[in-house]
Every structure is written in structure tokens, then in C-alpha cells.
């Protein structure tokens, strides 16, 4: 019955939502790229770059929102590299993505080391603070679980709505969904396949970078090497799980966050019997299970991974 207690505690859901927040950014970003037909395996590196760039901007005095802007720009920059390689040049999206991850990661690490050559413990910034919204934050349960998070979590939830609105309610979203299914259909209607895809990858990458920035600017207050720790790859799995829909992406990320928060609590209960690594493996294993569950019916965007050249039919 301890399990029920855990699940009913507002503090548990507070943790779940906190864990889910960077994933929401990441899955939304991956989803926008993939809806336009481009797999972005640069995500892990873009997370790192967003985490480092956002943190460093704040550390240099830019202010928290300025830091977020810097993170998004860094993400957009690496997204642009991936987009140029994979869209007009039509190169392997797998390899280019891995290349962007390697580049963004090493550049972030190099920059951090160069800026801070001698520090032994990483310097700290003042991160986003938990909100105290009148009325909302005082609501029972949901007040603590959701409205006492930081502004970035609220931003993530808003972004779910915005992404959904753009994809399903605007002409731009219509064009993005079309270009991920059949680029020739988009060109025949006089729109630019390249512009749509490059734009989607750049914007999607900027969103991913915000997920990374959340880690250094909200969840923690410093940058560590290896702190992304596969979160980007988890987002790629969750994107498939979410069948490329923003609403389901939110649910997937929250389920994942809940499971992760749950295993941490479980660890304190039964940790004595099992090595801690078993619990730490859970998120990765869960991601693989999520992929297996949806694999058969996964409805990949039809033009995903398929390069398209102008003048091609």
C-alpha cells in the first residue's frame, strides 16, 4: 500500500512533472523535425549545447530569459547544420545527426573548459525559481504538482499547446505535415520543400535546446559533463511512442517522468535488495519497451529519412 501512497502524493507528481519537462521540450522538437521528414539525431548534442550555452549566458550576466534565448539560438545553429546537410544535400540523416551530436557535445565541452580551465567544482547560477502564483499555486494537489514548478515547466506546457495549434490549425502546420508525407505534393502547390524542412529542423532544434537549458537553469544550477546522459535519445523513442502528436508527446513524457520518479522512490523502499544500477537502467529499458509496444502500429511520417531533390518526381 506504500505504492498507492507514493502515487497519491503531490510531491511525487511534482517530481514527475519536473523530470518530464526537458523531455517535453525534446519530444516536441523531435516531433517537429520528423513531421517535416527529418530525423534529428543531433538531439543529444543539441541538449548539451542548450544546457551549456544557456547556463553560460546567465553566468556571464545575461539574465535567465536571455539565457534561454541564447540556448535556443545555439540549438537553432546546430539544427541549421543538420538541416543543410540533410535537406538540400540529402545526406544520410542518421550519420549527419550523429555528427551534429558529436560536434555540439565537443564544442560545448571545449567552450566550457576553455572558459573555466581551472575550476574544480562547477560555478553556480541562480536558476529559475518555483512559481508562487496567487490562487493557482495554493490549489490542493495540482498547486504543488504543477503550479509550483518553475516558469520553464509552464513554458513547456504552453509549447505543447502552441505546437499542436500550429500543426493542426494553421496553413504552416498543414504544409509541414504534407512535406513529411510527400514533398512533391508541397512543391506542386508552389511551396518550397527546402524552406519548410530547414525551418522545421531549425525551430525543432531550438526547442530541443530549451530542454537542455532546463537542466542547467531550472532543475540544477550548474553545468556538468555528461549531464544529458541519454535524455535526447529517450526523446527520440518517446516521439515514436507519441505517434508524432503533441498531446500524446505530453502524455508520454509525463508517464516517463512518473515512472522515473516512482523508481527513485521505490529505490528508497527496496533499494537494499537490488543494486542501484538496476533502478538507473529503468528509464532506458522503459524507452525500449515503449518502442516495442508501438512498433507494429507506428505510423512513421512517410517521407521520413527519404531525401528529396528539386526537380525530382
Amino acid at each position: 500500500m506504500e505504492i498507492i501512497d507514493i502515487l497519491l502524493a503531490a510531491s511525487f507528481w511534482e517530481a514527475a512533472i519536473r523530470i518530464a519537462t526537458p523531455l517535453i521540450f525534446g519530444v516536441l522538437g523531435a516531433l517537429v523535425c520528423e513531421r517535416a521528414g527529418v530525423l534529428n539525431l543531433g538531439i543529444e548534442g543539441i541538449f548539451t549545447a542548450g544546457a551549456m550555452a544557456g547556463w553560460m549566458a546567465v553566468w556571464l550576466g545575461a539574465g535567465l530569459w536571455g539565457g534561454l534565448l541564447v540556448a535556443a539560438l545555439a540549438g537553432g545553429f546546430f539544427g541549421l547544420i543538420h538541416a543543410i546537410l540533410t535537406v538540400p544535400l540529402g545526406l544520410s540523416q542518421h550519420v549527419s545527426g550523429i555528427g551534429v551530436t558529436l560536434l555540439a557535445t565537443s564544442l560545448s565541452y571545449f567552450t566550457y573548459r576553455t572558459a573555466l580551465p581551472d575550476v574544480s567544482s562547477p560555478p553556480r547560477i541562480t536558476p529559475f525559481q518555483p512559481l508562487d502564483i496567487p490562487v493557482l499555486s495554493d490549489l490542493p494537489f495540482i498547486g504543488q504538482a504543477l503550479f509550483s514548478q518553475t516558469a520553464m515547466t509552464i513554458l513547456a506546457f504552453v509549447l505543447v499547446f502552441v505546437t499542436g495549434w500550429v500543426l493542426y490549425r494553421t496553413p504552416l502546420g498543414l504544409a509541414i505535415r504534407a512535406v513529411g508525407d510527400n514533398p512533391s505534393a508541397v512543391e506542386a502547390q508552389g511551396l518550397s520543400v527546402y524552406a519548410l524542412r530547414i525551418g522545421a529542423v531549425v525551430v525543432g532544434s531550438a526547442m530541443m535546446a530549451l530542454g537542455g537549458a532546463f537542466l542547467t537553469m531550472s532543475a540544477f544550477d550548474a553545468f556538468f559533463f555528461g549531464m544529458i546522459n541519454g535524455r535526447g535519445w529517450v526523446c527520440i523513442a518517446l516521439t515514436v511512442f507519441a505517434s508524432w502528436r503533441p498531446g500524446k508527446a505530453l502524455i508520454g513524457a509525463l508517464l516517463f517522468g512518473a515512472f522515473d520518479a516512482f523508481q527513485v522512490r521505490l529505490q528508497t523502499e527496496v533499494g537494499a535488495f537490488l543494486p542501484s544500477q538496476v533502478f538507473l537502467m529503468m528509464p532506458y529499458i522503459l524507452s525500449i519497451i515503449a518502442l516495442i509496444v508501438v512498433a507494429r502500429k507506428a505510423d512513421y511520417p512517410k517521407a521520413l529519412l527519404v531525401p528529396w531533390f528539386k526537380g525530382q518526381r
Binding site: L85, G90, I98, T114, G230, S287, L291
Partner: protein, 355 residues
């Protein structure tokens, strides 16, 4: 307006020259981060070269570093040939290393000519199994292997940690999470007196040559090439795509596993969680620089290894972060991708208005 037109047949200059030029550009681009780090650029390059090639010792270090890179490079090359996107060489390497420790740290004993093959087979098998799993999930269930192999890297590393704190823990390590050492008869002997370069290099070179012959000259290599280039046509002609993929998985995972064996039995002597500084991921760069050619892998592994060793040594001398090496390697990958594009397409600049 720019238009791309496929080339019918790239000449030898494009085929062999492009990777070399790409690598060179990546090295030159390193001047930018060096300048930003306020380092003396010319001196830094000099230090990198002497760090990798300046003495017998530095060459031995470079070759030691190239050994696992050849093996993980081959692992990526053969997998990518078949369009099996194995990004999990890092995990397969650790599984191979762990298997080598499991059988080679004293459980069984024997002369070297028994023990060395035994640890190699154990490591290769473990690595192969690590990739056959995701491959079966891909062919049977349609689960994307990119994500599964990537995530398995993290799972394996945690698993290794767990074993190093448990069953494989060295009671003499005074609390450090590391395994018992490989017994002497299973250790890869050094190739030179007092140098670290070891038998693993010879094994890696033999693997490269064997793989080249395998791919070019055998029925199975033929089928791998066919499946990789056009799986639909291969399937139509009667080649079993599933069986071919499993064979590729066994080869690729096995080679990555061997890289782990070589590090444990040749370089380190025991297993720890910092055994590989990302050899699995660097293997992808090595393979792409080699344009997936097994023999080319040897050359590109030497290049990547000298970047790592040279940058390490420069970093120690003038205090520039050694992450510069990773940066150069990443840039080399992107450069060779673009270069690969230029070998396949001619670029035409068209006038906007005709007439």
C-alpha cells in the same frame, strides 16, 4: 539556382582524395577554437604532430589508440554497409570487455595459445549477442535499431558498473570499481619492448584484411552489399534480408566486442567503467572517413588516433582543453559527409533566366 546532377562514376581522385581533404579541412578548422582559446596556433599544431609522431613512444601510443578504433571502425563500416544503423558499438565494446574479464581473470587457466583465443571468442560472442538482439527486434518487430542500440549503451554501462561492484569486483582494488586483472597468459603481449602497443593491433589489422576479402569476394559479402544497397531488390532476388542482417549484426557486434577485449587484455589489464573514452562513437567517424571500406578503416583509424594522441599531448603542454580532439573528429565527420556528396553529385550553377 543551384542544381545537383549525379555523377556516373567518380574517379579515383574523388574516391580517395575527398576523405583526405576532409580530414585536412577539419584539422585546419581547429585553428578557430585554438584562436578563441588564445593559444599559439602554429605551436599548437607543432605540438600535436610531435605528440603523435615525435618519438617511438608517441607512435606506439598512437598505434595503441588506433587499435580499438580500427575494430570499432570496422564494426560501424560493416553495419552501415548493410544499412544496419548500429550506434551501439560502445555498449558492445563494454560487453566484450566484460566477457573477456569473466573468462580471463582466473576462472579458467591455460597457456597463452589457449587463453588468448578464449578471451577473444568470449568477447566477440558477447558483443555479437548485444547487437543481434536489437537486430531481431528490428527485423521481427519493426523496432528502430538506432534508438535501441543507443539506449543499450547506457544500459550496458550501468550493467558493467553493477558487475564491477558485485560479481566481478576486485577484492584487492580497495574500493575502486574495477575488475580483477586478466591473468598473464591471457594478456596480449606488447609488440615492442617497454612500449604499450600490443598484439591487438595485429589482430585488428588482420580483421580489416579479412573483412575486406569477405565483403568483396564471398557469397555472404555479396549478399550484404546487395541488402545494403537495395534491400527490396535483394529480397526479390531470393536473398534473405533477415539472415543477412543477423550475420552483419554478429560481425559488427563481434568486432566491437573484440575492441573491448583488446583494451582489457592489451592496454588496461582489467575492466573499469572508464575503459573507453567513446571508441564506439569514434568508430562511426572512422568508418565514414574510410567510406565504409575495411582497408580504408586502417588509415582513418590512424588519423583519428593521431588527432587524439596529438591533442592530448598538446593539451598537457599548453593547457588547451583536450576536447579539441573530439571537436576535430566531429568536424572531420561532417566534412567527409559533404565531401561524399560532392563525389556523388556535380554541382551546377544555373542562370535564373534562360534565353
Amino acid at each position: 539556382m543551384i542544381r545537383f546532377e549525379p555523377r556516373s562514376n567518380p574517379g579515383p581522385f574523388l574516391t580517395y582524395g575527398v576523405p583526405v581533404i576532409a580530414a585536412g579541412i577539419a584539422i585546419l578548422l581547429a585553428a578557430i577554437p585554438l584562436a578563441l582559446a588564445n593559444a599559439p596556433i602554429i605551436k599548437a599544431y607543432g605540438l600535436m604532430i610531435s605528440g603523435a609522431f615525435g618519438s617511438v613512444f608517441s607512435i606506439s601510443e598512437m598505434l595503441t589508440r588506433a587499435t580499438p578504433l580500427i575494430l570499432t571502425g570496422l564494426a560501424a563500416a560493416i553495419a552501415f554497409r548493410a544499412k544496419l544503423w548500429n550506434i551501439g558499438a560502445e555498449g558492445q565494446l563494454y560487453m566484450g570487455a566484460m566477457a573477456a574479464v569473466a573468462v580471463g581473470a582466473g576462472v579458467i587457466d591455460g597457456p597463452s595459445w589457449v587463453m588468448i583465443p578464449v578471451v577473444m571468442i568470449a568477447g566477440a560472442l558477447a558483443g555479437a549477442l548485444m547487437l543481434i538482439g536489437p537486430t531481431l527486434m528490428k527485423t521481427r518487430l519493426g523496432v528502430d535499431e538506432v534508438v535501441t542500440t543507443l539506449l543499450l549503451n547506457f544500459i550496458v554501462l550501468l550493467f558493467v558498473q553493477m558487475m564491477l561492484e558485485g560479481a566481478l569486483k576486485d577484492p584487492m582494488s580497495m574500493g575502486w570499481p574495477q575488475s580483477e586483472p586478466i591473468i598473464d597468459s591471457a594478456v596480449f603481449p606488447p609488440l615492442l619492448e617497454r612500449m604499450r602497443v600490443h598484439l591487438g593491433l595485429v589482430i585488428a589489422l588482420m580483421c580489416a584484411i579479412a573483412l575486406a576479402i569477405f565483403v568483396k569476394r564471398t557469397v555472404w559479402g555479396f549478399e550484404i552489399r546487395a541488402v545494403g544497397e537495395n534491400a527490396a531488390a535483394a529480397k526479390f532476388s531470393g536473398i534473405s534480408v533477415t539472415k543477412t542482417m543477423i550475420l552483419v549484426a554478429a560481425l559488427s557486434g563481434g568486432l566491437a566486442g573484440l575492441a573491448g577485449v583488446s583494451e582489457v587484455a592489451g592496454t588496461r589489464g582489467y575492466l573499469a567503467t572508464d575503459l573507453s573514452p567513446g571508441y564506439g562513437y569514434a568508430g562511426i567517424v572512422v568508418a565514414m572517413l574510410a567510406r565504409l571500406s575495411p582497408i580504408g578503416v586502417i588509415a582513418s583509424a590512424l588519423f583519428v588516433a593521431s588527432v587524439f594522441v596529438g591533442a592530448d599531448s598538446m593539451s598537457r603542454a599548453i593547457g588547451v582543453s583536450s576536447y579539441l580532439a573530439d571537436l576535430i573528429v566531429a568536424m572531420a565527420l561532417l566534412c567527409v559527409l559533404i565531401g561524399g556528396f560532392l563525389t556523388r553529385f556535380k554541382v551546377h550553377f544555373e542562370r535564373k533566366s534562360a534565353g
